[in-house]
Amino acid sequence: MSTVLSARAWETVWTYRATFVQGLLNTLETAGIALVIALIIGFTLGLFSTSGHKALKAVARVYVEFFQNTPLILQVCFLYYVLAYSGMGLPVIVVGFISLGLYHGAYISEVVRSGIEAVPAGQFDAAHSQGFEYFGMMRYIILPQTVRIILPPMGNQVVSLIKNTSCLYIVGGADLIASTYNFVTGDNTAGAYGPAYLVSGLIFFVICYPLSMLAVRWEARLKKRTAARPATQTTGEEATRDE
């Protein structure tokens, strides 16, 4: 294998294409389950941090700071090796979606928090004045508005979650990056670095780019809608509001 971009290398990649497809499927499966976990954690902690309840806010804060200020790779390794050595080793894929779910849960909770905070105070006032309790208010009035606001940053979170499955290769995952790595170091396939990583990158791009574009488009639509509001809706808040 003198040249990494040789025709033979490409041929090898084509011959073993199933490896890449399987890697992609594993990546998507891990990302999918991790996303569900991250959403549950994210919405729960997002609600905690906007609840006005001191203890709940503290729980959310500590969680978020911990997971945002330590490397994901460390969290993956910790979960995998520490649990393995303490006798309750988990399959790599389980480690994968748990660690990614916990990590992105922290980021998503910040997205949810800022989304809730972006709903105008008047919406909370209106809900309280009608007699809604906290959960009814959140369910029918605040969260439906929050979801619209957070769709664009949420799209970015999904993209970054998919890309972060690559961290699992450190514990021998079966995700796309790990599969690619195994491929280029494998007995029969070693050396086809260039094509293998190009193909792997292209697959990531093809999945992630449309998601990013969707997020951008959502954001543009949202901006247009806010701009279309009649002026009376947004003016005078500070100027005429008593106290």
Partner: protein, 246 residues
């Protein structure tokens, strides 16, 4: 017991935001069916006063009660559901719902009204504010005046015995003020309790049973519209009225 017979009762209520004392010992009784208009300059505490009545603000000391029940943060949802609605300066319609959905949400979810009955009641109230053709529109596509009329219809669809109005025309373009005031005047013929914070003196004169003038966190003067517009006593009241009446 005078307090027990009042619909709304404030007993020596104070309210602080940090070190800023916004209300300084307010005593006020509002009787069932009474139309009370609260006037006063910006920063006088009048908006806080009305927001204390439905628990949007919590008193720092003193007691607020509705029909004899203590208004606290814990009980506000239940009391508001049962007794009161509010119309806001910024309308505060739910932007993700159509007009009709805005009206029927709370009756259905909070009062267990069937969808059929809620829609029927909502359509009657939309008709009353002259906007039945907007039932399926989204609030942000409507003018400020229309949104505020919808907000009034939303309050009516709750069938509350008290309706609070917190500067309902202050955010409106001048040409839309009248359409909202006309509806409020029409409403005042119903047997509901109305508490209205406003700068609209023409409306106050026509509708109020009683007016109070707030300044510096206190009720400075109280009386009938007749009293306020013919022989106000307090110097601050006179000054305020002379400015606002030109």
């Amino acid at each position: 017991m005078q307090a027990a017979s009042s619909m709304i009762s404030l007993d020596n209520v104070t309210k602080r935001f940090g070190s800023n004392e916004v209300l300084k010992g307010i005593n006020l009784q509002v009787q069932a069916g009474e139309k009370l208009v609260i006037i006063g300059p910006s920063g006088s505490g009048k908006s806080t006063l009305i927001r204390l009545m439905n628990g949007l603000e919590e008193a720092t000391s003193g007691h607020v009660s509705i029909d004899g029940h203590a208004m606290t943060h814990r009980h506000r949802a239940k009391l508001n559901r049962e007794y009161s609605s509010m119309v806001f300066q910024q309308f505060n319609l739910y932007p993700h719902m159509t007009v009709l959905e805005n009206l029927i949400l709370a009756p259905m979810k909070l009062k267990g009204v069937s969808k059929e009955d809620a829609v029927k009641c909502a359509m009657e109230n939309l008709k009353r504010v002259g906007l039945e053709e907007k039932a399926n529109a989204y609030p942000t596509t409507l003018s400020g005046g229309q949104q505020q009329r919808i907000a009034i219809a939303r309050a009516l669809t709750m069938k509350s015995s008290i309706v609070f109005f917190d500067e309902p025309t202050s955010a409106l373009d001048p040409e839309m003020v009248k359409e909202v005031l006309d509806i409020m005047e029409d409403l005042s013929k119903d047997n509901i309790t109305m508490v209205v914070v406003t700068h609209e003196m023409g409306f106050a004169r026509k509708v109020a049973d009683r007016m109070i003038f707030c300044d510096g966190g206190s009720i400075v003067e109280e009386g009938t519209p007749e009293h306020f517009f013919t022989h106000p006593e307090n110097e601050r009241t006179k000054r305020f009225l002379s400015k606002i009446l030109h």
